[in-house]
C-alpha cells in the first residue's frame, strides 16, 4: 500500500488545575514579558469571562477555563515559543494548583485513495472480528499505554478517520503527565520542570509513534 503523507498539524499544551480565567487577558501576557505589546494589540476571538478566557494571535490560541489552561499552535515553527509561553506563565503562577500536563501532538495522515485509507483502519481493527456487521470499519480508535520513563501518567493515541472529500486520518498523541501525587506546592514547578526536561523527547517519542503507524499503513 502506498505510504500516507504525514503532516504535522500542530501542537498543544494543556494543564489541568484551578485557574482564574479573568487573569489571562492578553495585556497581562504583555505586561509580564511573555508576549510583545505589539502582538496583543491585534488579538482575535477574544472572550474574557469569569468562566473562560480565550484569544488568538496569528501563531497561538489560548483558552483558559476554571479547570484547564490550553495553548495551541498550528505553526510548527512556533512550537518552542508555545512551550515558553506555557512554561513562562506557570513560572509566574507557581502557587496555582495544578494536577496534570498534556503535551499533545497532532498529525494528519493523507491517503491517496479509499482502498489504502480503508486498509489502514482494517489493519488496526480487523473486520474479521466483527462478523455480524456489514462492512465494519474503524470509526475511531484510542489506544493508551503506560509511560516508559519514571514519571506518572500515560501516553494515549487517538486515531480519527475523516471522510470529508479526502482520505484523511487525524492522529493525536497525548503525552500525559500526572503530578498530583506530588506535594501541592511542588505541582506547578514540577510541571515547568517536565516541560523543560521532556520537551524534545516528547516530540521525538510522538514522531517515533507516528513513523511506526505510517509504516503500518504502508504494509
Amino acid at each position: 500500500m502506498p505510504k500516507p503523507k504525514v503532516s504535522t498539524l500542530g501542537k498543544n499544551i494543556q494543564v489541568l488545575g484551578h485557574f482564574n480565567p479573568r487573569l489571562f487577558v492578553p495585556q497581562w501576557f504583555a505586561d509580564v514579558g511573555l508576549l510583545a505589546s505589539e502582538e496583543v494589540g491585534d488579538v482575535k476571538n477574544e472572550i474574557i469571562h469569569e468562566e473562560i478566557a480565550q484569544f488568538a494571535l496569528d501563531w497561538v490560541s489560548i483558552r483558559v477555563t476554571k479547570d484547564r489552561l490550553a495553548a495551541s499552535t498550528t505553526r510548527v515553527g512556533h512550537i518552542e515559543p508555545l512551550r515558553d509561553l506555557v512554561a513562562g506563565t506557570l513560572d509566574l503562577l507557581t502557587h496555582t494548583p495544578t494536577m496534570s500536563l498534556g503535551i499533545n501532538h497532532d498529525y494528519w495522515f493523507d491517503f491517496t485513495d479509499r482502498d489504502s485509507f480503508d486498509a489502514f483502519g482494517w489493519t488496526l481493527v480487523a473486520p474479521s472480528n466483527w462478523p455480524l456487521m456489514d462492512r465494519p470499519g474503524m470509526a475511531q480508535l484510542t489506544v493508551q499505554g503506560k509511560r516508559t520513563d519514571e514519571r506518572e501518567g500515560y501516553v494515549r493515541v487517538l486515531i480519527d478517520p475523516q471522510l470529508d472529500g479526502g482520505y484523511r486520518v487525524n492522529v493525536g498523541v497525548n503525552d500525559h503527565y500526572q503530578v498530583d501525587s506530588t506535594p501541592a506546592a511542588r505541582c506547578t514547578p514540577m510541571i515547568v520542570e517536565i516541560i523543560n526536561a521532556r520537551w524534545f523527547d516528547s516530540i521525538a517519542d510522538s514522531q517515533a509513534l507516528i513513523d511506526d503507524l505510517a509504516r503500518l499503513a504502508s504494509e
Binding site: G33, A87, V192, E193, N196, W199, F200
Partner: protein
C-alpha cells in the same frame, strides 16, 4: 617504538591533542603512568575523547592526577563534568579568575530552567561544582607562577612539575570585571544565556616539565598592550622557567591575537613541535591562511588536528537555499571527524619526538 594502542613507557612523555569537536583536549603522560588532562572534549561518538583514548590504551581513570580547565568557554569544556565525575582521584584545577563569588553566581543563575537545547560552558561548570561539592573537594585555583603538581626525583622515576604561568593578577582582575558585566546582564534583562565572551583573560597557560623534557600549553592567552596582562606578563615574570620547551600547544588556535614573537625566541627551542586545533565558529575561522604561513615560517613541525576550511553541512537543498537567502553567511560550527595528534619522547631526551596523527589531523607545510 610504542604502538598506537600501547600505553607509553613509564619513562616516556606523551602529549596528545584531540579536537575540534565539542571542545578540545590535551592529554599528557608525565611519566610513571601518571596523566594530566587539560580541557575536555566530546568526540564524534558522543563520548569523552580523553576517557575513550585512555580506555583504548588500557589506562585506568585512577591514573589521572590533574584535570585542568584552562578556561570556561564552551569550546574547551565539552564533557568536563563527566570527566571530573569519573576521575575521582584527580584534582580539578581552574583559573584563579573563577574563584570569586561572581563566577559562582553566574554559574548558579545560568542553570535555572534554561529551556535551551544546548548547554554552554557555564552549564558544564555547574555540574562540575555540584560534583566537587558532593565530594567536598575544593578545586585548585591556578594563577601565575603557581606549582600545581610536583613529583620529586627518585630512583627509577623522573622528576615532574606542572606550573601555571597565568593568569596574572591584572588579568584576573580583568576577568572579574567581565564576569560582573555578565552577571549584571543576567540580572537586569530578560532571561538570556551566558554568551561566549570574545576575550579570555582568565586563560591558564601551563608549563610541564618531565625529566629534561618541557612542554608549553598556550591555552587561549592573547597578547595585551598592558604589560601586566597577557603574554607579556608571562614573559616578564621573574619566576618564568628559564628552560626551553620542545613542544608548544599554540595559543589561541594560532591566531595573530595569541602570537607574541618573544614566546618563540625566549621560551621555545629551535624548531619546536607545535600542535593546535582550529576554531571554526564565528565569522572568520582561525587560524587564517596568514596565521598558518606565520607558523610554518617559525617551525617545520606544525601539526593541526583539522585543516581549517569551511565545513559543509549536508542538508536538504531547499533548506540550504532558504538559509543562505536569509543570512549573510552560514557555516557548520562543529565539524564531523575531529583529529588527534600524538607526540611521544623519552623524558631523558635521548630520542626525538615521534608524531602520530589520525582522523583529520594534518601537518602544516
Amino acid at each position: 617504538m610504542s604502538d598506537w594502542l600501547e600505553p607509553p613507557e613509564p619513562d616516556e612523555v606523551e602529549v596528545t591533542l584531540f579536537g575540534p569537536g565539542k571542545g578540545e583536549c590535551v592529554l599528557i603522560h608525565v611519566g610513571e603512568a601518571e596523566w594530566i588532562v587539560v580541557d575536555s572534549c566530546i568526540d564524534d561518538t558522543g563520548r569523552s575523547a580523553p576517557l575513550n583514548y585512555l580506555g583504548s590504551l588500557g589506562v585506568g581513570v585512577e591514573q589521572i592526577r590533574l584535570i585542568v580547565a584552562s578556561h570556561w568557554h564552551d569550546d574547551h569544556v565539552g564533557g568536563l563534568a563527566g570527566l571530573v565525575d569519573s576521575a575521582t582521584a584527580a584534582r580539578l584545577v581552574c583559573s584563579a579568575a573563577l574563584e570569586p563569588d561572581e563566577f559562582l553566581h553566574l554559574v548558579s543563575a545560568a542553570d535555572l530552567r534554561p529551556m535551551v537545547k544546548a548547554t554552554s560552558g557555564v552549564h558544564e561548570f555547574r555540574r562540575v561544582l555540584d560534583c566537587l561539592s558532593e565530594r567536598e573537594v575544593y578545586p585548585v585555583y591556578a594563577s601565575a607562577d603557581r606549582v600545581l603538581y610536583r613529583r620529586p626525583i627518585s630512583i627509577g622515576s623522573s622528576h615532574c612539575e606542572v606550573i601555571s604561568l597565568s593568569p596574572s593578577d591584572a588579568s584576573s582582575h580583568d576577568a572579574l570585571q567581565g564576569l560582573r558585566k555578565l552577571l549584571e546582564q543576567q540580572d537586569a534583562t530578560q532571561r538570556t544565556v551566558v554568551p561566549r565572551p570574545r576575550r579570555n583573560p582568565a586563560a591558564v597557560v601551563l608549563w610541564i616539565s618531565v625529566g629534561i623534557v618541557h612542554v608549553l600549553l598556550g591555552s587561549d592567552l592573547e597578547v595585551d598592550s598592558n604589560p601586566a596582562k597577557g603574554w607579556t606578563a608571562v614573559l616578564d615574570a621573574i619566576s618564568r622557567p628559564t628552560e626551553r620547551a620542545s613542544v608548544f600547544k599554540v595559543a589561541h588556535h594560532g591566531s595573530v591575537n595569541g602570537h607574541d614573537p618573544r614566546v618563540w625566541t625566549d621560551m621555545l627551542e629551535a624548531d619546536p613541535y607545535c600542535v593546535l586545533t582550529p576554531y571554526l565558529s564565528g565569522a572568520t575561522p582561525i587560524p587564517r591562511p596568514t596565521d598558518m604561513d606565520r607558523l610554518v615560517s617559525l617551525s617545520p613541525n606544525i601539526w593541526i588536528t583539522r585543516r581549517p576550511g569551511t565545513p559543509s553541512v549536508r542538508r536538504d537543498s531547499r533548506v540550504d537555499r532558504m538559509a543562505k537567502e536569509v543570512t549573510r553567511w552560514i557555516r557548520a560550527s562543529e565539524p564531523q571527524n575531529a583529529g588527534v595528534v600524538r607526540l611521544r619522547r623519552r623524558s631523558d631526551g635521548t630520542d626525538d619526538w615521534r608524531v602520530h596523527s589520525s582522523g583529520s589531523a594534518a601537518r602544516l607545510a
